[in-house]
Each structure stands twice: as C-alpha cells, then as structure tokens.
Assembly symmetry: C2
Homo-oligomer: 125 residues x 2
DNA sequence: GCAATGACCAACAAAATTGTTAGTGTTTAA
DNA sequence: TTAAACACTAACAATTTTGTTGGTCATTGC
C-alpha cells in the first residue's frame, strides 16, 4: 500500500494542496478509469457489460477500479431488486455526471490533434 | 523502459485505440505535469521559475517531465537570445494552450465537490 | 451433485513511474 | 581559481500501479 512518508506521497499531497486540479486528475487517471466512467454514462452500467466493452480487463482489475471510483464518489453501486444471483448496477453520482462533459472535451482535444491539426506556437507571447 | 509486449502496454494501446480520451489523459496524468502546464500558462515559463513554484521537485524530475510534455507537443523550448548562460523559455503550443481551459474546468469540478457540494444520485436513470 | 452465473477479494508478482546520486558544460562575478 | 547560475543527463533505487492466481458465496438448471 501507500507509504505515507515517501517523497512520492509527500509530493502528491503537496500538489493536492496547490490546486484541486491535481486531485481531480489523480481521480480519473488510473488505467481504465475514465473509459469506465464514460461507458457507464453510455448505459453500460453492469459488471458484465463493462467486461464486454473492455474485453482485456480482468475481473479483479475491473472490480478494483470500480471500487476506487466508488471511493471517490464518482459512482455508486445499487442492487437490482428481485434478481438472483444478485445483480448490481453502477450509477454515476452527480459528481460523476459532471465529469462526463469534461471527459468529452478532453476526447475532442485529443482527436483534433491526432487528426492532424497543425501544431505551432503563436509567438504573441 | 517500456516492455512493448507486457499486458500493461497492450492494454494501454487498446485504450488509446478505443478513444482519444485515454491518450489525452495519459499525456496529462504524470506527476507534476498538469501543474507545470498550468504554471507555464501563468507565465512561469523558465526552469527556475517552475522550481520556485514547485519547491519539492528535483531538477532531474522537472527536466524529465518537461521533456515528456515536449514529446507530446504540449510545449516547446526556445532559446532566449543573447543570454549567458543560455536561457531557455518554455512556450505552450496551440495544443498546450487548448488544454488549459479544460484543466481549469477539471479544477473547478474538483473544487466544487471538495467545498462540500452534496453528492447524490438522481435516480431518473 | 455439479457446473454455471454474477460479483466480487486477498496475496502476490510484474511492470511502470517517480525520486536520487553524481555527473556535464559555459560563463561571469568574487 | 573557485564558486555559482542555468539547464540539463544517465544510471540506479524506491515506490506505486497494474495484472495474475486462486479463491468466495448464493442460487438455478441439468
């Protein structure tokens, strides 16, 4: 786990306190995480639906990333009533939903430049 | 360095190809990186100015993160003419500049919820 | 009674990121 | 001539993240 007193985690805390930007990025930056949030927002709100979307993810890893997103209150688990075996649905909180349009902008930004938009510096400085 | 054939890097490539969102996040998610981008956008565009802003960062690490941001064309280095010893200025490219407002939104999002905005699920589903 | 489904978890191992140590080179001021 | 500023770098070590293995538990269909 975390070593509270490593330079690494001291630096992490330092950045968290400089600006919320850094905590925000740390919440969404784990492997699979933002894709999971986006997939849930598109309706893939069950464990097995996410597995279908992300065929390379292992069950253990998916469960772990879901749990971390839950810890940061991006999503919540709810039991689907009268299901056997127990069915669980993942629902984005308002915090998670507010994140989605930001992720979409990030996506557009990435697309724009990968599709060849010219990169330059305007020396207006 | 990178092991091209590890599950880890295969999964990374898989996500990159699913959506640009994932490459975008991987560009900005290294330790210090988004803070460096933001600081440069605020005018701290010299090596030593960044060190002043981020007192805990070591020279080696700062140089490394700047280089990676340069590799992803978020910023460019320029020599300041007639300076001795050689002065280097870091300038955001248009790609880097386009990122700044998105980082600001992420920051606001983080602030909103850290300042106590209530978290809930609207079960409108 | 045995496998299958759905949703996990702990412990460990592999890999990646981050930080450290000890250097480089030029020039100017003390 | 010695130190100090500026802007780095390579090699290594510490730490963290990611992936793997081998489980759990409850219920239904065969």
């Amino acid at each position: 786990m975390r070593k509270e007193n490593s330079t690494n985690s001291i630096n992490e805390r330092f950045l968290f306190q400089v600006c919320e930007l850094n905590s925000a990025i740390s919440i969404i930056s784990g492997r699979w995480k933002s894709q999971i949030v986006y997939s849930i927002s598109q309706g893939n709100n069950r464990f097995h639906l996410l597995q279908k979307e992300l065929p390379n993810i292992s069950e253990t890893v998916l469960a772990r990333q879901l749990k971390e997103l839950e810890t940061h209150a991006i999503l919540m688990k709810t039991k689907i009533p009268n299901m056997v075996p127990v069915g669980i649905e993942y629902i984005l909180t308002n915090k998670g939903n507010d994140l989605v349009p930001i992720l979409e902008r990030l996506c557009d930004w990435g697309k724009l430049y990968s599709e060849g938009k010219e990169i330059s510096v305007d020396s207006i400085s």
